[in-house]
Symmetry: D2
Subunit: 363 residues, 4 copies
């Protein structure tokens, strides 16, 4: 692609993830990082220095200064702050790559979905585990046929208590279900080509509140899927910090004839020093000055998509359904009852619907 | 214990398990195997030859011939056939060791419970995993204090499809929940000292019916416990036969501060031959002509209990609660709703039962 | 066995192992613990209090007071101090159970072997891993035929640096080869029914000397076996203390057609607390007030042997060959050359040879 | 890099590996695949069709037609056939990427080394495990300091019997030492920055000869390293085919303070079907039509090196030392004695070779 053919992208949010996306764009020969948008002054200054591109304080400034030359934007703001950025940029005709989850309310997710659809822009949701070669191969085998139909899936994705108590400042406003289950739920859908239709969830809320973080310690959710299969998701936020990895990720998918078990946390390298045992992690790593790993591949595919590649990436409708499902998990946690998951997203007629009434949108 | 002080025991049911219990009694110096009862003539003849003790065709014959000299009976009939044997023997004043589950209906379990209580005999239920040193040590640590309170437990106990399609003739009348979950549910109660108060379950019923076994392929159940903790049990009956063990047993218990993961299937010895990989199993094994393993230890403790030892073995009330819980699992499977689990006494009929007053019987 | 028929045993050495053997004897209905012999006054007093049997300060006192009523003695003195006790007791007509290694010089091992042979007493050497059900089953399968002939074996038995620097006061006078390889070498011989004929060894001597323990950090030894197979033994004494077990024991045996891998360190239970990850260990554990585990089974078999049981236990000739082999390991470490291992032990005609010249003793 | 600035490369040998290297070059934007050279007509035709580039029957034709426009050549002929291709191309001024091992005789390896040095061309040897992120990270940590000095390393790299009996037609002319140990020996040198100075090896030669493949079943080699550390390499070619991977690769490196264990065979995904258990492998895999994996990264780095990048890739001197070491392994296998490994220059004949003065060539 000639330089003038490059995809021109801005990143909104310059935290750990946003900075990584910005670097990924800079190292992609088919992309150009145009600008970064970050409200916190110190973080903004650091991004400017590290990346050597213009920085803006907010999305309005970004659009005012760069809308004409931009093709797309990566939305890497905190989970609850996706809507305004995404809607505004979609309305400006920019393609979107939005971090998972698409949003943390159905209303927000619908608004982003409808805005992108009205504008006719791509809205890719960053369910990055699809770029993990392990899951991709299982998906390929299952989709290739001959492996039987999925009977049930069990996915454990947990964090040590370090994550909600030391790593995240906003854990109390989130939950292990919001932080972890979008990953595992997306995988169950992708591997089985089915959607969740009903969820029952339970949890415990005792340890983290006692440590000043008013959210669930652990959530377990049982989903009925549209193909008659069953999914169990378990996510804890209170595992001991002596675990060899800060996350504990184990996945099973069972069909009529075949079982796959996927262990993501152990990397193959265990290090024992005088203090502790740990599994070295290679999710994102640097080689010869370049970042590698699943989020980098995801960004590359987003760029390729915008360049015309025929890729099947998770879109806003899918992201909306995941958000609906996690909202339903929390509703079940509160009510103690199974909760149906409307799989009817904001549909085609919504394209011209103003104001959009999600209740009227057919599946 | 002098010979005349030995515990004199009969075994009812001379299948694989019954024969093993009979051998366990014969090798225990404090016990005497008096007779074996088995309705199937060929099996009965084999038992007579192998064990060298009198055999009876049914429990009436057993009681007629041996009631006066018996102290106890081991009930190793098929799951659905515990009630009559257990009640009749209890009424005859014999102590009971009943295979798990105590019964497969609440009515049967209540009948056995009340009969044993009226007769004032021990009714031990064979939840043999308590004799597995791994679980026993975890229990000892948790009960010893200082390990935090239990937050959640996840127990996977699965079988390969060999079990319902080739090993068991009566699988269609059972389910993975009846066959496997009594083990795991008992462990969750024992480790946490809590009882289940509510259950939600889902399952799939497609693969086994298609192979002529009209029962559930897989069941997942989510329990709310009396201490506020959460339990997830998963049991499949359709795992591939290429698994290195016919059963797949993984257990996790997480407290505020500590996690234990218990892997029962891998024994530490993997054998690779030209055909397959397998984990050698040592659950019951023979050494110098003597059987060893958890069911043998269980029988030995039953004998010791009858000899006056102060042992805390799982009794009929506990077995009744497990049966209630598994019945509730199936009710939830059918209704799609959470089902409360009555942890109360044996029920209305018991109210007029004299001398046993259910209100006075500790739960 | 009536009380007067019991095997009457004394234990020499009341350290951790000796005390355990004493308890094992006390709980064996066919044995009677007559006395314990221990030179260190405080340890002796503790043993007297804990065991409630007479204690002696040295083996002369033991023999003077109890020789007439003793059948056997367990030798649990430090490795280098086996000879005098064992020879004296054999000469007194007592059967011997000697901790492994039989001795740490060929001369000592020969002296014990010849003394026991002249006296016609059993001299069992405590290679306790033979009582580990995992190895016993592999041995049974290989000995049963149909599994091919052994091609090679690799055995890793390591300790964390805790063992030589904190647990053992006499580590500087020993080595990982003396402390660990007798176990693994014995297993390779037992599983293959072959004997070592030649050894080449290398090691490193840097870390432990730097910490004030003048011995080898790690030793690797390569053995040619009499059946043409090859054995590799690796033993380190400097592994990090963050390992989940104080020992690291992995074993492989490969035949023409079949491979067995045996992992002894992971018990199936991993415990994660705020500080560290650990594998709970069940090598010796207590149940209902009784000790269990491989050393207990070994003592029970020693008692059974003396009671007339037909058991194939490792004897002095075998212990002598192991000692010869480990001496050869150290000779190879020093010379940098392969060292032949005389498998010709002190033979039958040596019985009348005084003083015994090992060079003249035919194989 | 503009098209005219591209590195222009030919591949010699169009088997599995050569074809893969050719594809890697075609997908690298900084390289151009100019031609492929392959003597077997059918293979040559297939390569022409698959790759769409000119093909030649031998290296003379290649040089006659394309020497002027070539920058480099990848040598992917069988192990024993590297010398002539490499020397001829070096003499023509072409840079070399040679598959490991550099050669299978010291004479061949020296000839290639000297030819490349005289010509002043790069001669990179394809020790591809250095591009495995697991080993690269361990290397980075050890090289970064603070992890202690290496004490010992143990590397097991085995194949199932499928490899020598079904996959390779020329196994009888090779050995597990030639096929597998160059990988592991290279890693031990790279991780410790030390070189082997002496080796003792043993092996068994019974199973494969009995199956018509006249080579070693298993080889174990013990190396003294220049830094005083010890290395043990074990390589078998007769493991059972029921292993979940065709290769079994386990690596340990231990320092004063830290241990790393690296398990390469288990990928994190286990698949159980009706027939067997297997670990899915991702060593080389395809994503969006592009190859990925360690050999692809290696080729990319070779291209980058030729483009001027400052990369530290394994060169001919290193490849020569590995060849010397494996030759010494076989000499020890035959003689039963430890064999010193000359780490010096290319040898006496080289002394009079002008212009290259071996004394001036850095080891």
């Amino acid at each position: 692609m000639a330089a003038q053919g490059r995809v021109r992208v801005a990143v909104v949010g310059a935290g750990i993830r946003g900075s990584m996306f910005a670097r990924a764009l800079q190292q992609n020969p088919d992309a150009e990082l145009v600008a970064v948008c970050e409200p916190v002054e110190r973080t903004r200054a650091a991004a400017a220095a590290a990346l050597g591109v213009p920085v803006c304080a907010d999305v309005e400034e970004l659009l005012t200064r760069f809308a004409d030359e931009l093709t797309a934007v990566v939305v890497a703001t905190p989970d609850f702050a996706h809507r305004d950025v995404a809607v505004r940029c979609a309305e400006a005709g920019l393609h979107l790559l939005v971090e998972k989850p698409l949003a943390t309310t159905v209303e927000d997710a619908e608004a982003i979905t409808l805005a992108s659809e009205r504008a006719g822009v791509h809205a890719v949701v960053g369910f990055e585990n699809r770029w993990n070669e392990r899951f991709a191969e299982v998906r390929a085998q299952l989709a290739g046929g001959g492996q039987g139909r999925v009977v049930h899936q069990v996915a454990n994705l947990n964090d040590t208590v370090f994550v909600p108590t030391q790593m995240l400042s906003w854990a109390g406003a989130s939950s292990p279900a919001w932080f972890l289950m979008p990953h595992t739920l997306d995988l169950t859908m992708w591997l089985s080509d089915a959607v969740p239709v009903d969820v029952f969830a339970r949890g415990v809320k005792r340890v983290l509140p006692g440590r000043g973080v008013p959210t669930w310690d652990v959530v377990t959710a049982s989903f009925a899927m549209s193909d008659g299969s069953v999914v169990v998701l378990n996510s804890s936020w209170v595992l001991p910090t002596s675990m060899p990895s800060v996350f504990d990720f184990r996945y099973e998918v069972h069909t009529d004839t075949t079982s796959y078990t996927v262990d993501i946390s152990p990397s193959g390298v265990t290090r024992y020093d005088a203090e502790r045992a740990s599994w070295l992690q290679f999710g994102v790593h640097e080689r010869a000055g370049r970042l590698r790993g699943v989020p980098i591949d995801m960004v590359d595919d987003f760029v390729a998509l915008l360049g015309g590649a025929d890729l099947d990436l998770p879109g806003a409708r899918h992201g909306l359904l995941v958000t609906r499902s996690i909202v339903a998990v929390h509703e079940s946690l509160e009510t103690g009852r199974p909760v149906p998951i409307g799989s009817g997203p904001a549909g085609p007629d919504a394209a011209d619907a103003a104001p959009a009434d999600p209740q009227s949108i057919p599946a």
